[in-house]
């Protein structure tokens, strides 16, 4: 997720074929606690099942700081492959020991310095426990504070801005088999969403066209998020993990303009206008 679109090179610029720029990217930290391969696979599978879209081709940093005794090269390679199997791309290691350095460079993994506070137990160190955000039933109000990777040290660019919620706007039909996820913000679709398609957002979802697929708002647990659609024909609607399927939806307001909201543990579907 680039921080900003790169500007067009101006004519006065040098004839270099590239330019180096600093950037801040949100990354997920996978902090290993146990290296038992079977348990790791089982736990990963369970976590992936909860939020499949969140993990699709997601770059992650693997933290080995909690692991004792130190990891062997073969184990590292196994964990990297296991992550890949679940759609996670390990791009860097944190807190690796000296004898893993060769293995890491052979696997094209970058090495990041260990965190300043060793073996932090609480999440108040600027590394929130992302698990809490993923389990749908928890009401987490604080914003995730992403781990940063700095490509360039430049004091002026390192000013941390609070991430503004980004709205994703889709103008072409979302077809069967397609999945669109608006991470960290709202999703607006100005076209039909076909049966068999899936649209997800951390915030609200608006569909200006027939909404026939699966529509999931507040997938990271934001219970105040809502769904607005012009014609409700969905296979499933969900807010923060609370859902209704097609069979129930057909009972009320079918093919009408509605908004879907959550109070306590009940999904409300109300006509618009």
């Amino acid at each position: 997720m680039p921080a900003s679109p790169s500007p067009k090179p101006d004519s006065s610029a040098s004839s270099l074929s590239f330019r180096l720029k600093g950037g801040l990217f949100p990354l997920t930290l996978l902090e290993l606690i146990d290296t038992d391969p079977l348990k790791l696979r089982k736990d990963l599978a369970q976590k992936m099942a909860e939020a499949p879209a969140f993990f699709q081709q997601a770059p992650i940093v693997l933290s080995l700081e909690q692991i004792q005794p130190p990891l062997q090269a073969a184990e590292l390679s196994f964990i990297r492959d296991l992550c890949r199997e679940f759609g996670l791309i390990v791009i860097a290691l944190r807190g690796s020991n000296d004898h893993l350095q060769d293995a890491a460079s052979a696997m094209n993994l970058a090495l990041l310095p260990a965190s300043k506070v060793k073996k932090s137990e609480s999440q108040s160190e600027g590394e929130p426990d992302i698990e809490g955000l993923l389990s749908p039933q928890t009401n987490q109000s604080e914003q995730p504070c992403p781990e940063d990777v700095q490509a360039q040290k430049d004091e002026e660019t390192v000013v941390r801005m609070p991430a503004a919620p980004e709205t994703k706007i889709v103008t072409t039909p979302v077809r069967s088999g397609q999945q669109i996820y608006a991470a960290g913000g709202d999703l607006v679709v100005l076209a039909p969403v076909s049966a068999g398609a899936e649209i997800l957002a951390d915030g609200n979802i608006h569909v200006y066209g027939p909404a026939r697929g699966r529509i999931l708002a507040g997938v990271r647990g934001n219970r105040s998020s809502r769904i607005f659609c012009q014609a409700l024909e969905a296979e499933l609607v969900s807010i923060a993990g609370y859902f209704k399927v097609n069979e129930d939806l057909r009972q009320h307001h079918w093919k009408q303009s509605v908004q879907v909201s959550l109070t306590d543990e009940t999904l409300n579907i109300d006509c618009l206008g």
Partner: protein, 271 residues
């Protein structure tokens, strides 16, 4: 500039090869130098429908592997000299196609002065179908008026706009819907989806509606593309579709029962 058109559907048996044969013949009959490529490696059919199966020496895979030249593998159509056929291999499987090889052949065809390159896709959404659609500028999505076929067409439209070369470059593939095996009488009885139903689900420009017709089966068995049969509604509907593909504004016909009966009466009178 050659225009690459893929004829695809997702679902099998909806009329992709019949459509490829008809559209490519139609374009060639209108004077455009056209080639039709069979991408269905291992299930070669196009040559049967085009009635050139006895003249197949080399095939698409031979050309990709460098075992023959393109010129050796291209078969000139006997009815229209503007049309060439590049048959599929019957003995290999679809993995024999690779993007570099396919691109090389397409570029060579474009350099040879072909205006239209029609790619007849295999069914499914696997490697073979992907190879057929990857380089397409335009897609003709063939669908039957039936729920599962429409759903598969929707899926293939999604793949076209996300996985094709044009999509990767941030451009869009021009997409058309061709509805085949349409039976207005069954639509009226509520046994079949109507054009409007399908249009509402797919929201794609309609290239044509081909009525269900015995002449299609007859044409396949005789090895004569149905577009040559100017006495059949299916042939006429394909002809209209080719005109629309070339940018003409032609009104859709054979959509309702009454219309069909009127034409049958006209034909009976003229016969």
């Amino acid at each position: 500039m050659a225009k690459i058109i893929v004829v695809t559907s997702g679902k099998g048996g909806v009329g992709k090869t019949t459509t490829s044969a008809a559209i490519s013949s139609g374009l060639a009959l209108r004077g455009h130098k056209t080639v039709v490529i069979d991408f269905d490696i291992g299930l070669r059919n196009l040559d049967l429908i085009m009635n050139c199966e006895r003249r197949v020496v080399y095939d698409f895979v031979n050309v990709i592997k460098g075992e023959s030249t393109l010129r050796q593998a291209l078969i000139k159509d006997k009815r229209c000299d503007k049309l060439h056929i590049l048959p599929a291999s019957q003995t290999r499987d679809k993995d024999a196609l690779d993007p570099e090889g396919v691109e090389k052949v397409l570029n060579e065809l474009a350099d040879d002065g072909f205006e239209y390159i029609i790619c007849d896709s295999p069914a499914g959404i696997e490697h073979g179908a992907f190879m057929a659609l990857y380089f397409a500028d335009t897609a003709i999505v063939v669908s039957n008026p039936e729920v599962s076929s429409v759903r598969d067409s929707d899926r293939i439209l999604g793949i076209l706009q996300s996985k094709s070369r044009r999509a990767e470059r941030g451009e869009s593939v021009e997409e058309y819907l061709l509805l085949t095996r349409y039976n207005p009488e069954r639509v009226e009885k509520g046994e079949m989806l109507s054009v409007e139903d399908v249009q509402e689900i797919l929201a794609t420009r309609l290239l044509g509606v081909i009525p269900e017709s015995e002449s299609v089966l007859k044409a396949s068995n005789q090895g004569l593309p149905v577009i040559y049969d100017s006495t059949s509604n299916a042939g006429l509907a394909y002809s209209d579709a080719v005109d629309r593909l070339l940018g003409e504004d032609v009104e859709h016909r054979f959509l309702s029962v009454g219309n069909k009966k009127l034409l049958q009466r006209l034909f009976r009178r003229s016969a």
